[in-house]
Each structure stands twice: as structure tokens, then as C-alpha cells.
């Protein structure tokens, strides 16, 4: 292919915007065009498609096609009905299953707990930014859990939260009755979410610290000179300045909660007690692997995908809006 010898084929891809200055003036001189060969023109026309082809192919073959297969599979039956179309049968069964309802309710709970999951790293990052004593030490310590795998974190907290574990021992030494942290359906989900926040807030903290790096120190000084208290500084100066960072952390934390709590659930509660800690992800795994219901699991996956799609679109919208504000 004579692509290499023709005019810069990136021109059409980066048409006129940032690339405009980089294109050599010679390319725009009228005399240059007629001398080009017909093959060169064709190559120029196809070059962008060739260039994006690998990315498109990977997305289509490895993402979209399996996705469509999965959605298609969710409309077929399991077991004896394998391969036959059952319409919305799987979806009807899903929404009638109290376990799946619990899983969806728990998604709602995660959304409610989201502000907390964002506020914790935000506050801690603020303290580090304001250089509380020992801030260097805390900066590395806070990040440490983020490098541990969920299975290890789960195992550690399994020991700590066991009925005869250290936490209950401490409580009993001050006269409080032991609590079955992971065996009480009213508490277990909060414990798992709490451990998840503990294990992942380091990442959000780093994002916040990066946001702080762009903060105008003059604003803080001005606020102090005007006699603002710490809460006032946080609320009226830091939060507005970091709105984009906060939005970003909101969305990534939400996605993290919906898609990467499986390891913790598997190790800490196995979906129990009484099915109270089920999340859609765990439900999918259970139906597919343990109950031999792959088509039902596909239907649940499709619903989880829809939820993620909503979250993802929300993310794009938020980021676009904050971009405009700037």
C-alpha cells in the first residue's frame, strides 16, 4: 500500500481542530492536490477506517457480539427447555424471586450509602491537604488497603468480625453483649459495605489529592484572612472548587460498588445470612454456577447491564455539564 508516501492521512481524522496548526502549509497549497495519484486519494479516504478498525473490531467482536449473544440467550429456557425461546419468562421469574428483589434493594441501599463513601475520602484528603500533624504518614497508610485483594480483605475482616473474634472481645470487656456482625441480616450488609469502603477509599483519596493540587491556594488564604472557620472553608471554598473531582469520584465509586464487591461477598457472607447480602453480581454467579440456570443468569446480567448503563450515561452527563460550567 502506498499510504506512507501520500499526504498526511491524519488530516481528515483531526479535521481542522487542534491538528490544524500541525498540518504543513504545503498540504493546503492549491498546486499540491492535482498531482496526487488516484490510489493516493483512495488510500487517504480509507486510512481513517483502517486506523480505527482494530479498536472497532475489538469492541464489536469481544464486547458487543457477546453482549448481544447474552441478551439473546436470556430469552431462552434452561434445562429441558435449553435453546427454546421462552419470551420474557426468565425476566418474569427474576422479578418474582424474592432473592433477586433483595439484590435490587441492596443496590438501592448502595446508592443511599454513596454520599458516605465519597465523603470519607473527601474529608480525609482535606485534612491531609490542610497538613494536619502526621499527614505524610496518613497519606501512605490510607492508600495501603487499596493494594490488597478483596479476598484477603474479606478474610481479615472475617476473623475480626467473627462471633468469638477480637471486636466482640473488646466490646465484652466494656460490658456490651457480643453482636453477630456477619450473621445478623440487619447488620451484615452494612458491615460488607463498610469493609468495601475501607478497602477502596484509598483510590478516591488519591483522586481528591490530585484535585487539591489544582486548588488555588490564594482562595484559601483569602478566606482565612476574612476569618472563615474550618467548616466554612471546606463548605464555601473547597467543595465548590472541587466539584468536578467530587462528581468523578461519585461515579467511579458507584461503579466500583456495583461491580467489584463479589469477592468480599463470597468470602464474608456467601450472600447470607438469610440471603440479605445478595447483590445482582452474586445472584448471577449463583444461578449460573450453582443452580445450573445459565439463561436465568443471562437475564439477570442484562438487568445489571441496564443499571450500569444508566449509571454510565449519568456519568457522561455530569461530566459534560461540569465541563460547561468551567
Amino acid at each position: 500500500m502506498p499510504i506512507g508516501n501520500t499526504q498526511p492521512s491524519v488530516r481528515s481524522a483531526s479535521a481542522g481542530r487542534a491538528g490544524g496548526a500541525a498540518v504543513t502549509p504545503a498540504a493546503h497549497q492549491g498546486g499540491a492536490r492535482p498531482r496526487r495519484t488516484r490510489g493516493g486519494l483512495r488510500a487517504e479516504r480509507y486510512a481513517p477506517y483502517v486506523l480505527v478498525a482494530p479498536a472497532v473490531l475489538i469492541i464489536v467482536v469481544l464486547r458487543l457480539y457477546p453482549l448481544l449473544l447474552g441478551v439473546n440467550f436470556s430469552f431462552t429456557g434452561d434445562g429441558a427447555q435449553n435453546g427454546t425461546a421462552v419470551g420474557f419468562g426468565n425476566y418474569r421469574e427474576l422479578f418474582a424471586d424474592p432473592l433477586f428483589q433483595t439484590a435490587l434493594r441492596n443496590v438501592g441501599l448502595l446508592v443511599l450509602l454513596l454520599p458516605l463513601a465519597v465523603a470519607i475520602p473527601g474529608l480525609l484528603a482535606t485534612f491531609i491537604y490542610l497538613r494536619v500533624p502526621g499527614h505524610r504518614f496518613y497519606r501512605s497508610v490510607y492508600f495501603f488497603p487499596a493494594v490488597l485483594s478483596p479476598v484477603i480483605v474479606g478474610a481479615i475482616f472475617n476473623l475480626l468480625l467473627a462471633f468469638d473474634g477480637p471486636l466482640n472481645a473488646v466490646l465484652s470487656s466494656v460490658g456490651v453483649d457480643p453482636i453477630d456482625w456477619l450473621g445478623d441480616p440487619g447488620i451484615a450488609m452494612f458491615m460488607v459495605v463498610g469493609v468495601h469502603i475501607w478497602a477502596t477509599f484509598g483510590m478516591a483519596l488519591v483522586v481528591f489529592l490530585a484535585g487539591f493540587a489544582t486548588l488555588d491556594a490564594a482562595l484559601l488564604d483569602a478566606a482565612r484572612v476574612d476569618g472563615a472557620s474550618l467548616p466554612q472553608v471546606v463548605w464555601h471554598v473547597i467543595v465548590p472548587s472541587l466539584s468536578r473531582t467530587i462528581q468523578f469520584v461519585f461515579v467511579t465509586t458507584m461503579i466500583g460498588m456495583l461491580t467489584s464487591m463479589f469477592g468480599l461477598l463470597y468470602v464474608m457472607t456467601s450472600g447470607g445470612p438469610e440471603g440479605s447480602t445478595y447483590l445482582p453480581e452474586f445472584y448471577i454467579w449463583k444461578q449460573q454456577g450453582q443452580m445450573n440456570r445459565p439463561a436465568l443468569a443471562s437475564a439477570a446480567s442484562t438487568i445489571l447491564f441496564m443499571i450500569m448503563l444508566v449509571v454510565g450515561l449519568l456519568q457522561i452527563k455530569l461530566l459534560e455539564r461540569s465541563g460547561k460550567e468551567d
Binding site: 478498525a53 482494530p54 441480616p185
Partner: protein, 420 residues
């Protein structure tokens, strides 16, 4: 420069695609003349070596020219891989199965070996788990059952006679009160995954249900509203309410936290297994064979006789697509031969299907278990569908926490059992 980038991109994509294509090819094994391929999840383990050597030697005596290849698959993906092989109608000649639902669901892909194994019928136990509609599909290798183990040292501490554990439920509850006074719990219970209830109904089933009810249950005619079935769940709830179980049962994993509680002497009894894990050989790590007892289920409903609940554990079956079913069946027989099973029992710590094996070396607990095999019956929970078992696990946790009634439990279980 650009050209190079394009070509490398093309190369990466084509490599990626080629990689996907070839990944699905691995693990494929088709039989050719003079060779038999066996799939299992045991042959990769060190303890299985002498068992396989003995089995191969036995087969070599009959067919010296036939090569046997063992392919060990990971257990957590075993039935998925097997499902793919069955779908394509190509795969191993001989394959390992768990007894019960796992093999019965897949008999369409198997050859009945009833006539080939007729000679072994008497020597081996556990055939029922590999039988469907009167046809035998696999020869049992191990047996899996649910005996009640007890710690004789705790009995002594509580001034109870370790040689004669309770034979009735009332006496058993009284004994447990004495054990509680001595500072131990009655049962080591792990019900985090809802497995505790499965062992519970199977271990106590023979002395709670009448013989007729028991047989009807196994045959699939389960009356969930019968007083005795409800009794099983009432006792489960009572044991929880009376604090007979180890603390925090709903957050304790059965494998292996509850067994660890038993081994370390924190609880006097555990409903355990016969083979693989959570059994006599595992416990011997901390409890010497003299301290470990096996008791019959205490009588709950008057007029019942305790029997050991057990089924065939694992067994080898012959695939439909094999070229010479007779030869493959002879390999299955070699894999269940007396010498091979003896090695399996000794190295793997399993109760082998061959009841003629001398087990006197392994301590009194094993001797008791093997002695009860003759009168044993299939376990209650093995007869249930996996969906019902999953539901039962969650309901059992609710019973322990007191958020559901026994009547509601049997109602939900009956509905699930009829649907499945």
C-alpha cells in the same frame, strides 16, 4: 512510521483473534483405537497416585496393549467442561461422577454398565446413587455419608459415659445440659452457607421419620406437612433456642470453621462426613482415634431405628460415544477393584465403596461407620433439588434467628419441591 503502526495493529488483532480460536481447542480429547481417555478431578492429587497405579496394573492384566490416559480437570469447572463435551458428542471414554443428581441428569450421554459390573454388585456398596430406572451407569469408588461424631474427652469431663452415648433425644438433650455445665457446646454448627441444615435433616432423619415416610421421601413422594417432617425443623429451631449450637452459627462456615471448633474441643458433637473432608482422618489431626466416637442418631420418634445416611460418593461411568464400551467398562471395573480401592481408602482418607476392606487399623470410629453401612439408607437432603436445598439453607438461618415459623418453612419448601 504510520505503515508500521498499521501493520503492528493488524498483527496484534490477528494474534488476538487466533488466540481466541485456539483457546477453545485445549482440553479436547478423543479416543483412538488402543487408547482410553479418562476425565476426573482426582488424578492430579498426590494421594491418588497409588490408587491409579493399582487400577492401571489391574487393567493391564486384561488389556496389555491398551493405553490409558488420565486427564485431571479442576473440580469447580468439571461439570461445565463435561457439559461442553456432551454437547459436542466428543470427549473422554470414561469419566468420574458424583453420585445422585450429577450423574442422573446426564445419563443420556452414558452407556448402562449393569451387565458388565454384575460380578461387583455384592462386593461394592452405594450403587443406588449411580442407578436410574433400574440401570447402573457407574461403579462406586467412595461412599459419602453423614455420621454424628463426638468427642469422648468432653463426655468424660461432663461425667458422661463415653462408651454409651444417648440413644433417645430426651437423654441426648440432658447430656448436652451436662456438657454445657462442663463448659462446652453440644454441637459445632456452621450454617453460613446453609449447609448445616442439610447435615441435620440427614443425620437425624432415620430416627425422626417412620420407615415408610423415609422411603417415600427418597422415592420423591415427600409429605412436607407430616408431623415428623415438621419435627425435624422444630428440633433445629429448639437446638438454636436452647443454645446447644456453637455461637454465631449463621456466620460460621461449615468448611472448615465448624469442624475446627469440634477438633479443638469447643463442642462435643459434629455432624460430619465420611470421605474427603470433615471426617475421621481430618479430626485425627487433633483428636486421637481413641477420643473420637461415632454415635447412632438418638431416637426422636418412638419406634424408629437409627440407620447411617449415606450414598455413593464418586464413581466412574462410560461415555456413549466410546468405540468399545466393553473395554471401557472393564477399565471402570479396574478403577473399583479391591486393591485399588484399598489404596484409595488408605491414602485419601475416604470410606471406599468396597466393604470388604479391612479398616481395623484406622481406629474405632471408622470401624463403627463401616459396620453400619449394611443397614444404611440414602441421605434425605441428597434427594432434594439444588434449588430447594438453597432455599432450605436460607430458611434454616431464619429459623435460627427466629424470624420465621416452622409452618411457614415447610410451606415454602413444599412449594419449591413441587415446582422443581
Amino acid at each position: 512510521m504510520r505503515q508500521r503502526a498499521i501493520w503492528s495493529a493488524v498483527l496484534v488483532v490477528s494474534l488476538a483473534l487466533a488466540g481466541c480460536g485456539s483457546a477453545s481447542d485445549s482440553g479436547k480429547s478423543t479416543s483412538s483405537d488402543g487408547k482410553l481417555v479418562v476425565w476426573d478431578w482426582k488424578s492430579g492429587e498426590p494421594f491418588a497416585k497409588s490408587y491409579l497405579d493399582k487400577a492401571k496394573a489391574d487393567f493391564k492384566k486384561k488389556h496389555a496393549d491398551v493405553e490409558v490416559e488420565f486427564v485431571a480437570q479442576p473440580f469447580d469447572q468439571y461439570y461445565t467442561l463435561l457439559g461442553a463435551a456432551i454437547q459436542s458428542g466428543k470427549g473422554p471414554d470414561v469419566m468420574l461422577f458424583n453420585g445422585g443428581g450429577q450423574i442422573r441428569d446426564r445419563v443420556d450421554a452414558l452407556v448402562p454398565i449393569t451387565d458388565y459390573v454384575a460380578e461387583d454388585k455384592q462386593r461394592l456398596a452405594g450403587w443406588d446413587a449411580f442407578t436410574k430406572d433400574g440401570k447402573v451407569y457407574a461403579a462406586p469408588v467412595t461412599l459419602q455419608g453423614y455420621p454424628i461424631y463426638y468427642n469422648k474427652a468432653i463426655y468424660q469431663k461432663a461425667s458422661l459415659d463415653p462408651a454409651s452415648p444417648a440413644t433417645t433425644w430426651d437423654k441426648f438433650v440432658a447430656d448436652c445440659a451436662a456438657i454445657a455445665r462442663a463448659g462446652s457446646k453440644c454441637f459445632a454448627l456452621g450454617n453460613k452457607e446453609g449447609v448445616g441444615i442439610q447435615f441435620w435433616i440427614s443425620s437425624l432423619g432415620s430416627t425422626t421419620l417412620t420407615a415408610a415416610e423415609y422411603d417415600a421421601w427418597i422415592a420423591g413422594k415427600r409429605d412436607w406437612n407430616s408431623a415428623n417432617v415438621k419435627r425435624l425443623f422444630q428440633l433445629w429451631k429448639e437446638a438454636g433456642d436452647k443454645k446447644m449450637n456453637s455461637d454465631g452459627a449463621n456466620s460460621t462456615a461449615m468448611f472448615n470453621d465448624s469442624f475446627a471448633l469440634f477438633q479443638s474441643g469447643k463442642a462435643a458433637h459434629v455432624m460430619g462426613l465420611m470421605s474427603d473432608v470433615g471426617h475421621w482422618q481430618d479430626f485425627n489431626e487433633f483428636l486421637t482415634p481413641e477420643k473420637l466416637g461415632v454415635m447412632k442418631a438418638p431416637v426422636i420418634t418412638a419406634g424408629t431405628t437409627p440407620s447411617l445416611p449415606y450414598d455413593g460418593g464418586i464413581g466412574y461411568a462410560v461415555a456413549k460415544w466410546t468405540k468399545d464400551p466393553k473395554m471401557a467398562a472393564e477399565l471402570v471395573r479396574s478403577l473399583s477393584s479391591a486393591e485399588a480401592l484399598k489404596a484409595f481408602y488408605a491414602d485419601a482418607g475416604a470410606i471406599a465403596a468396597d466393604t470388604t476392606i479391612d479398616v481395623s487399623q484406622a481406629g474405632p470410629a471408622v470401624a463403627t461407620i463401616v459396620g453400619e453401612l449394611k443397614s444404611g439408607k440414602p441421605a434425605l437432603h441428597v434427594a432434594l433439588s439444588s434449588k430447594t436445598i438453597d432455599l432450605m439453607g436460607r430458611l434454616s438461618q431464619q429459623l435460627l434467628s427466629g424470624s420465621i415459623t416452622v409452618d411457614e418453612v415447610v410451606k415454602q419448601l413444599a412449594a419449591s419441591d413441587q415446582a422443581g
